[in-house]
């Protein structure tokens, strides 16, 4: 099968199309607005309570917001194409399945990065209020990039499973939310399990990076989640043939 070769020129063409589509989609705008409003509100309501010039609370809450927002913006990526039938159109042109998956994945990530840009206002305004340590902030944003990648890959995977967008949304939330919340389970479990759970939890990995300590194991965790989800998507799409 020469269908596995990735042609980066075509990935770029597909990426541009998908990225533009996000800006046509009201759902994507609504999700981003809600994300910015709620995350900003939650953050600042705690910020003045603690009275500390730091972003820790913002990044602590971020995985939960992402676990909802990213499935919502990725739910239609394949589902909608299946239900409209355009997947048949695009997949019979000279693009390979990996080209299509990568184009969608990168576009979803890029869109979320754009959504993250307005939050730069938080550290900038905090820096005026007090002495902000930029190390953890930078770590937080690097962690966000990895987290977005992991959740977007999961969202794309669940979108490839069905032509029903709502079902796809539920499946990806059902994966992303436990992956995030699982870290809070460790108090109820024996130490051995709690270690495993800490290893598996996206929120725990993310909070390590967000402290400003970038450990290659944490990075590898996110890259593995991305790879496994995207590879599974490829298998799903091949099985549909």
């Amino acid at each position: 099968m020469n269908e596995n070769i990735i042609n980066y020129k075509k990935v770029w063409v597909l990426f541009k199309k998908e990225f533009r589509f996000f800006f046509f989609s009201p759902i994507a705008y609504i999700c981003i607005c809600l994300f910015l409003i709620i995350s900003g509100w939650v953050f600042f309501s705690q910020f003045f309570l603690f009275n500390q010039a730091e972003m820790r609370e913002f990044f602590r809450n971020l995985p939960f917001f992402f676990a909802i927002v990213i499935p919502a913006i990725t739910m239609g990526l394949f589902s909608e194409e299946f239900s409209v039938g355009s997947y048949e159109m695009i997949s019979t042109t000279s693009v390979s399945i990996p080209d299509i998956i990568l184009g969608k994945f990168l576009a979803a990530c890029a869109f979320m990065f754009v959504a993250l840009v307005p939050t730069f206002i938080f550290p900038i305004s905090i820096a005026f209020l007090g002495d902000l340590d930029f190390g953890p902030v930078l770590g937080g944003y690097i962690g966000s990039v990895l987290l977005i990648g992991a959740f977007a890959a999961i969202g794309i995977f669940s979108s490839s499973l069905t032509k029903n967008q709502i079902l796809s949304l539920i499946v990806s939330i059902a994966i992303c939310v436990p992956l995030t919340f699982i870290v809070f389970m460790d108090q109820f479990l024996p130490p051995f399990f709690s270690d495993i759970i800490n290893d598996l939890s996206a929120a725990a990995r993310f909070s390590n990076i967000a402290k400003g300590v970038i450990d290659w194991r944490d990075v590898l965790y996110f890259l593995s989640v991305i790879f496994i989800a995207l590879y599974s998507t490829k298998l799903v799409l091949e099985r549909k043939k």
Partner: protein, 311 residues
């Protein structure tokens, strides 16, 4: 050019395509004809590599679709049923996108877009959003999509379904035009479409081929079993009319009461000879009035019904 061998596709217990075999030469326009659910779309999807056969193989220029999909895709232009396009894009942007995806050289892209939009008469709507177009225009954008990379083979799934009569004629003309330089396979359940556009017909039913013939041969076969239809004004009873017209060379006469006291008569000849002149002379002997007389061919509809009726 295209060779299909032992092609099967099963969905669990359902045998959508069950052992289809045919060869298509360069330059043919082949109509894949069959009732709904016969396996036409599934067959076409396997030709394009969108579906993988359960058994059997499709080879195009001696390359297997299963093993050489990315090479095969370059020589095929495919229009799925009802042209599912990206509605949010403008026609030009969509064609440009597809041209890039289909590896049209950067310097050629503009020329190709102009060429296909001329060919498919899209110039008027080139800047409109696809979702705002009529069905006929959408179908033409779909055809433009299929030919943008100048493929040798065009595969069209029900290219005229859902169009109004004018649009149907336009699309058929376009397909014929494209068929001059390309090999075309189209599926349809409309028989007149095959008569109008195709040089060859493959009739498929329940996943199997039931007839594979050139359109001319099929029509000739259809013509052989000929009958003459008459409409007569007479007070005579049906039996008398039947007996009167059963002269030498006539095999069978069917008489039925038509509207306004007229009689509808079918006269079947023995040999397939044209017996209209004899019938006319015969009626001239009587005091009946001949209202209408025409040669009744066994139509493609009849053949189709016979071949695809429930066993």
């Amino acid at each position: 050019m295209i060779s299909v061998r032992g092609l099967k596709k099963f969905y669990g217990e359902v045998k959508a395509v069950n052992g289809v075999e045919f060869d298509i030469q360069k330059g043919e326009i082949v109509g894949l004809l069959g009732p709904n659910g016969a396996g036409k779309t599934t067959t076409l999807r396997m030709l394009t590599g969108y579906l993988t056969p359960t058994e059997g193989d499709v080879t195009i220029d001696n390359l297997s679709v299963i093993d050489n999909l990315s090479d095969i895709k370059k020589v095929i232009g495919y229009l799925p049923e009802s042209a599912p396009l990206y509605g949010d894009m403008a026609v030009y942007d969509y064609l440009e996108f597809i041209a890039r995806v289909q590896e049209v050289g950067e310097s050629d892209i503009e020329n190709r877009i102009h060429y296909v939009s001329d060919k498919c008469s899209l110039n008027q709507v080139i800047n409109k959003k696809i979702s705002e177009l009529s069905k006929g225009y959408k179908q033409r954008v779909g055809l433009a999509h299929a030919i943008i990379h100048d493929p040798a083979i065009l595969i069209l799934d029900e290219p005229t379904s859902g169009l109004d009569p004018n649009q149907i004629i336009e699309i058929r003309e376009l397909i014929k035009e494209l068929g001059k330089e390309k090999t075309v396979i189209l599926s349809t359940h409309i028989l007149s479409e095959v008569e109008a556009t195709c040089s060859r017909v493959i009739i498929i039913n329940k996943g199997c081929i039931v007839k594979d013939a050139s359109t001319d041969n099929l029509m000739a076969d259809a013509g052989a079993a000929n009958a003459v239809y008459l409409q007569i004004k007479t007070g005579e009873p049906k039996k008398a009319v039947g007996d009167f017209l059963k002269f030498k060379g006539v095999n069978k006469v069917d008489v039925s009461e038509g509207y306004a006291g007229l009689k509808d008569v079918f006269v079947f000849s023995d040999s397939g000879n044209d017996i209209r002149e004899e019938i006319y002379k015969k009626i001239k002997e009587s005091d009946w009035s001949l209202i209408e007389m025409r040669k009744e061919k066994q139509t493609l509809e009849n053949i189709f019904q016979e071949l695809t009726k429930e066993a």
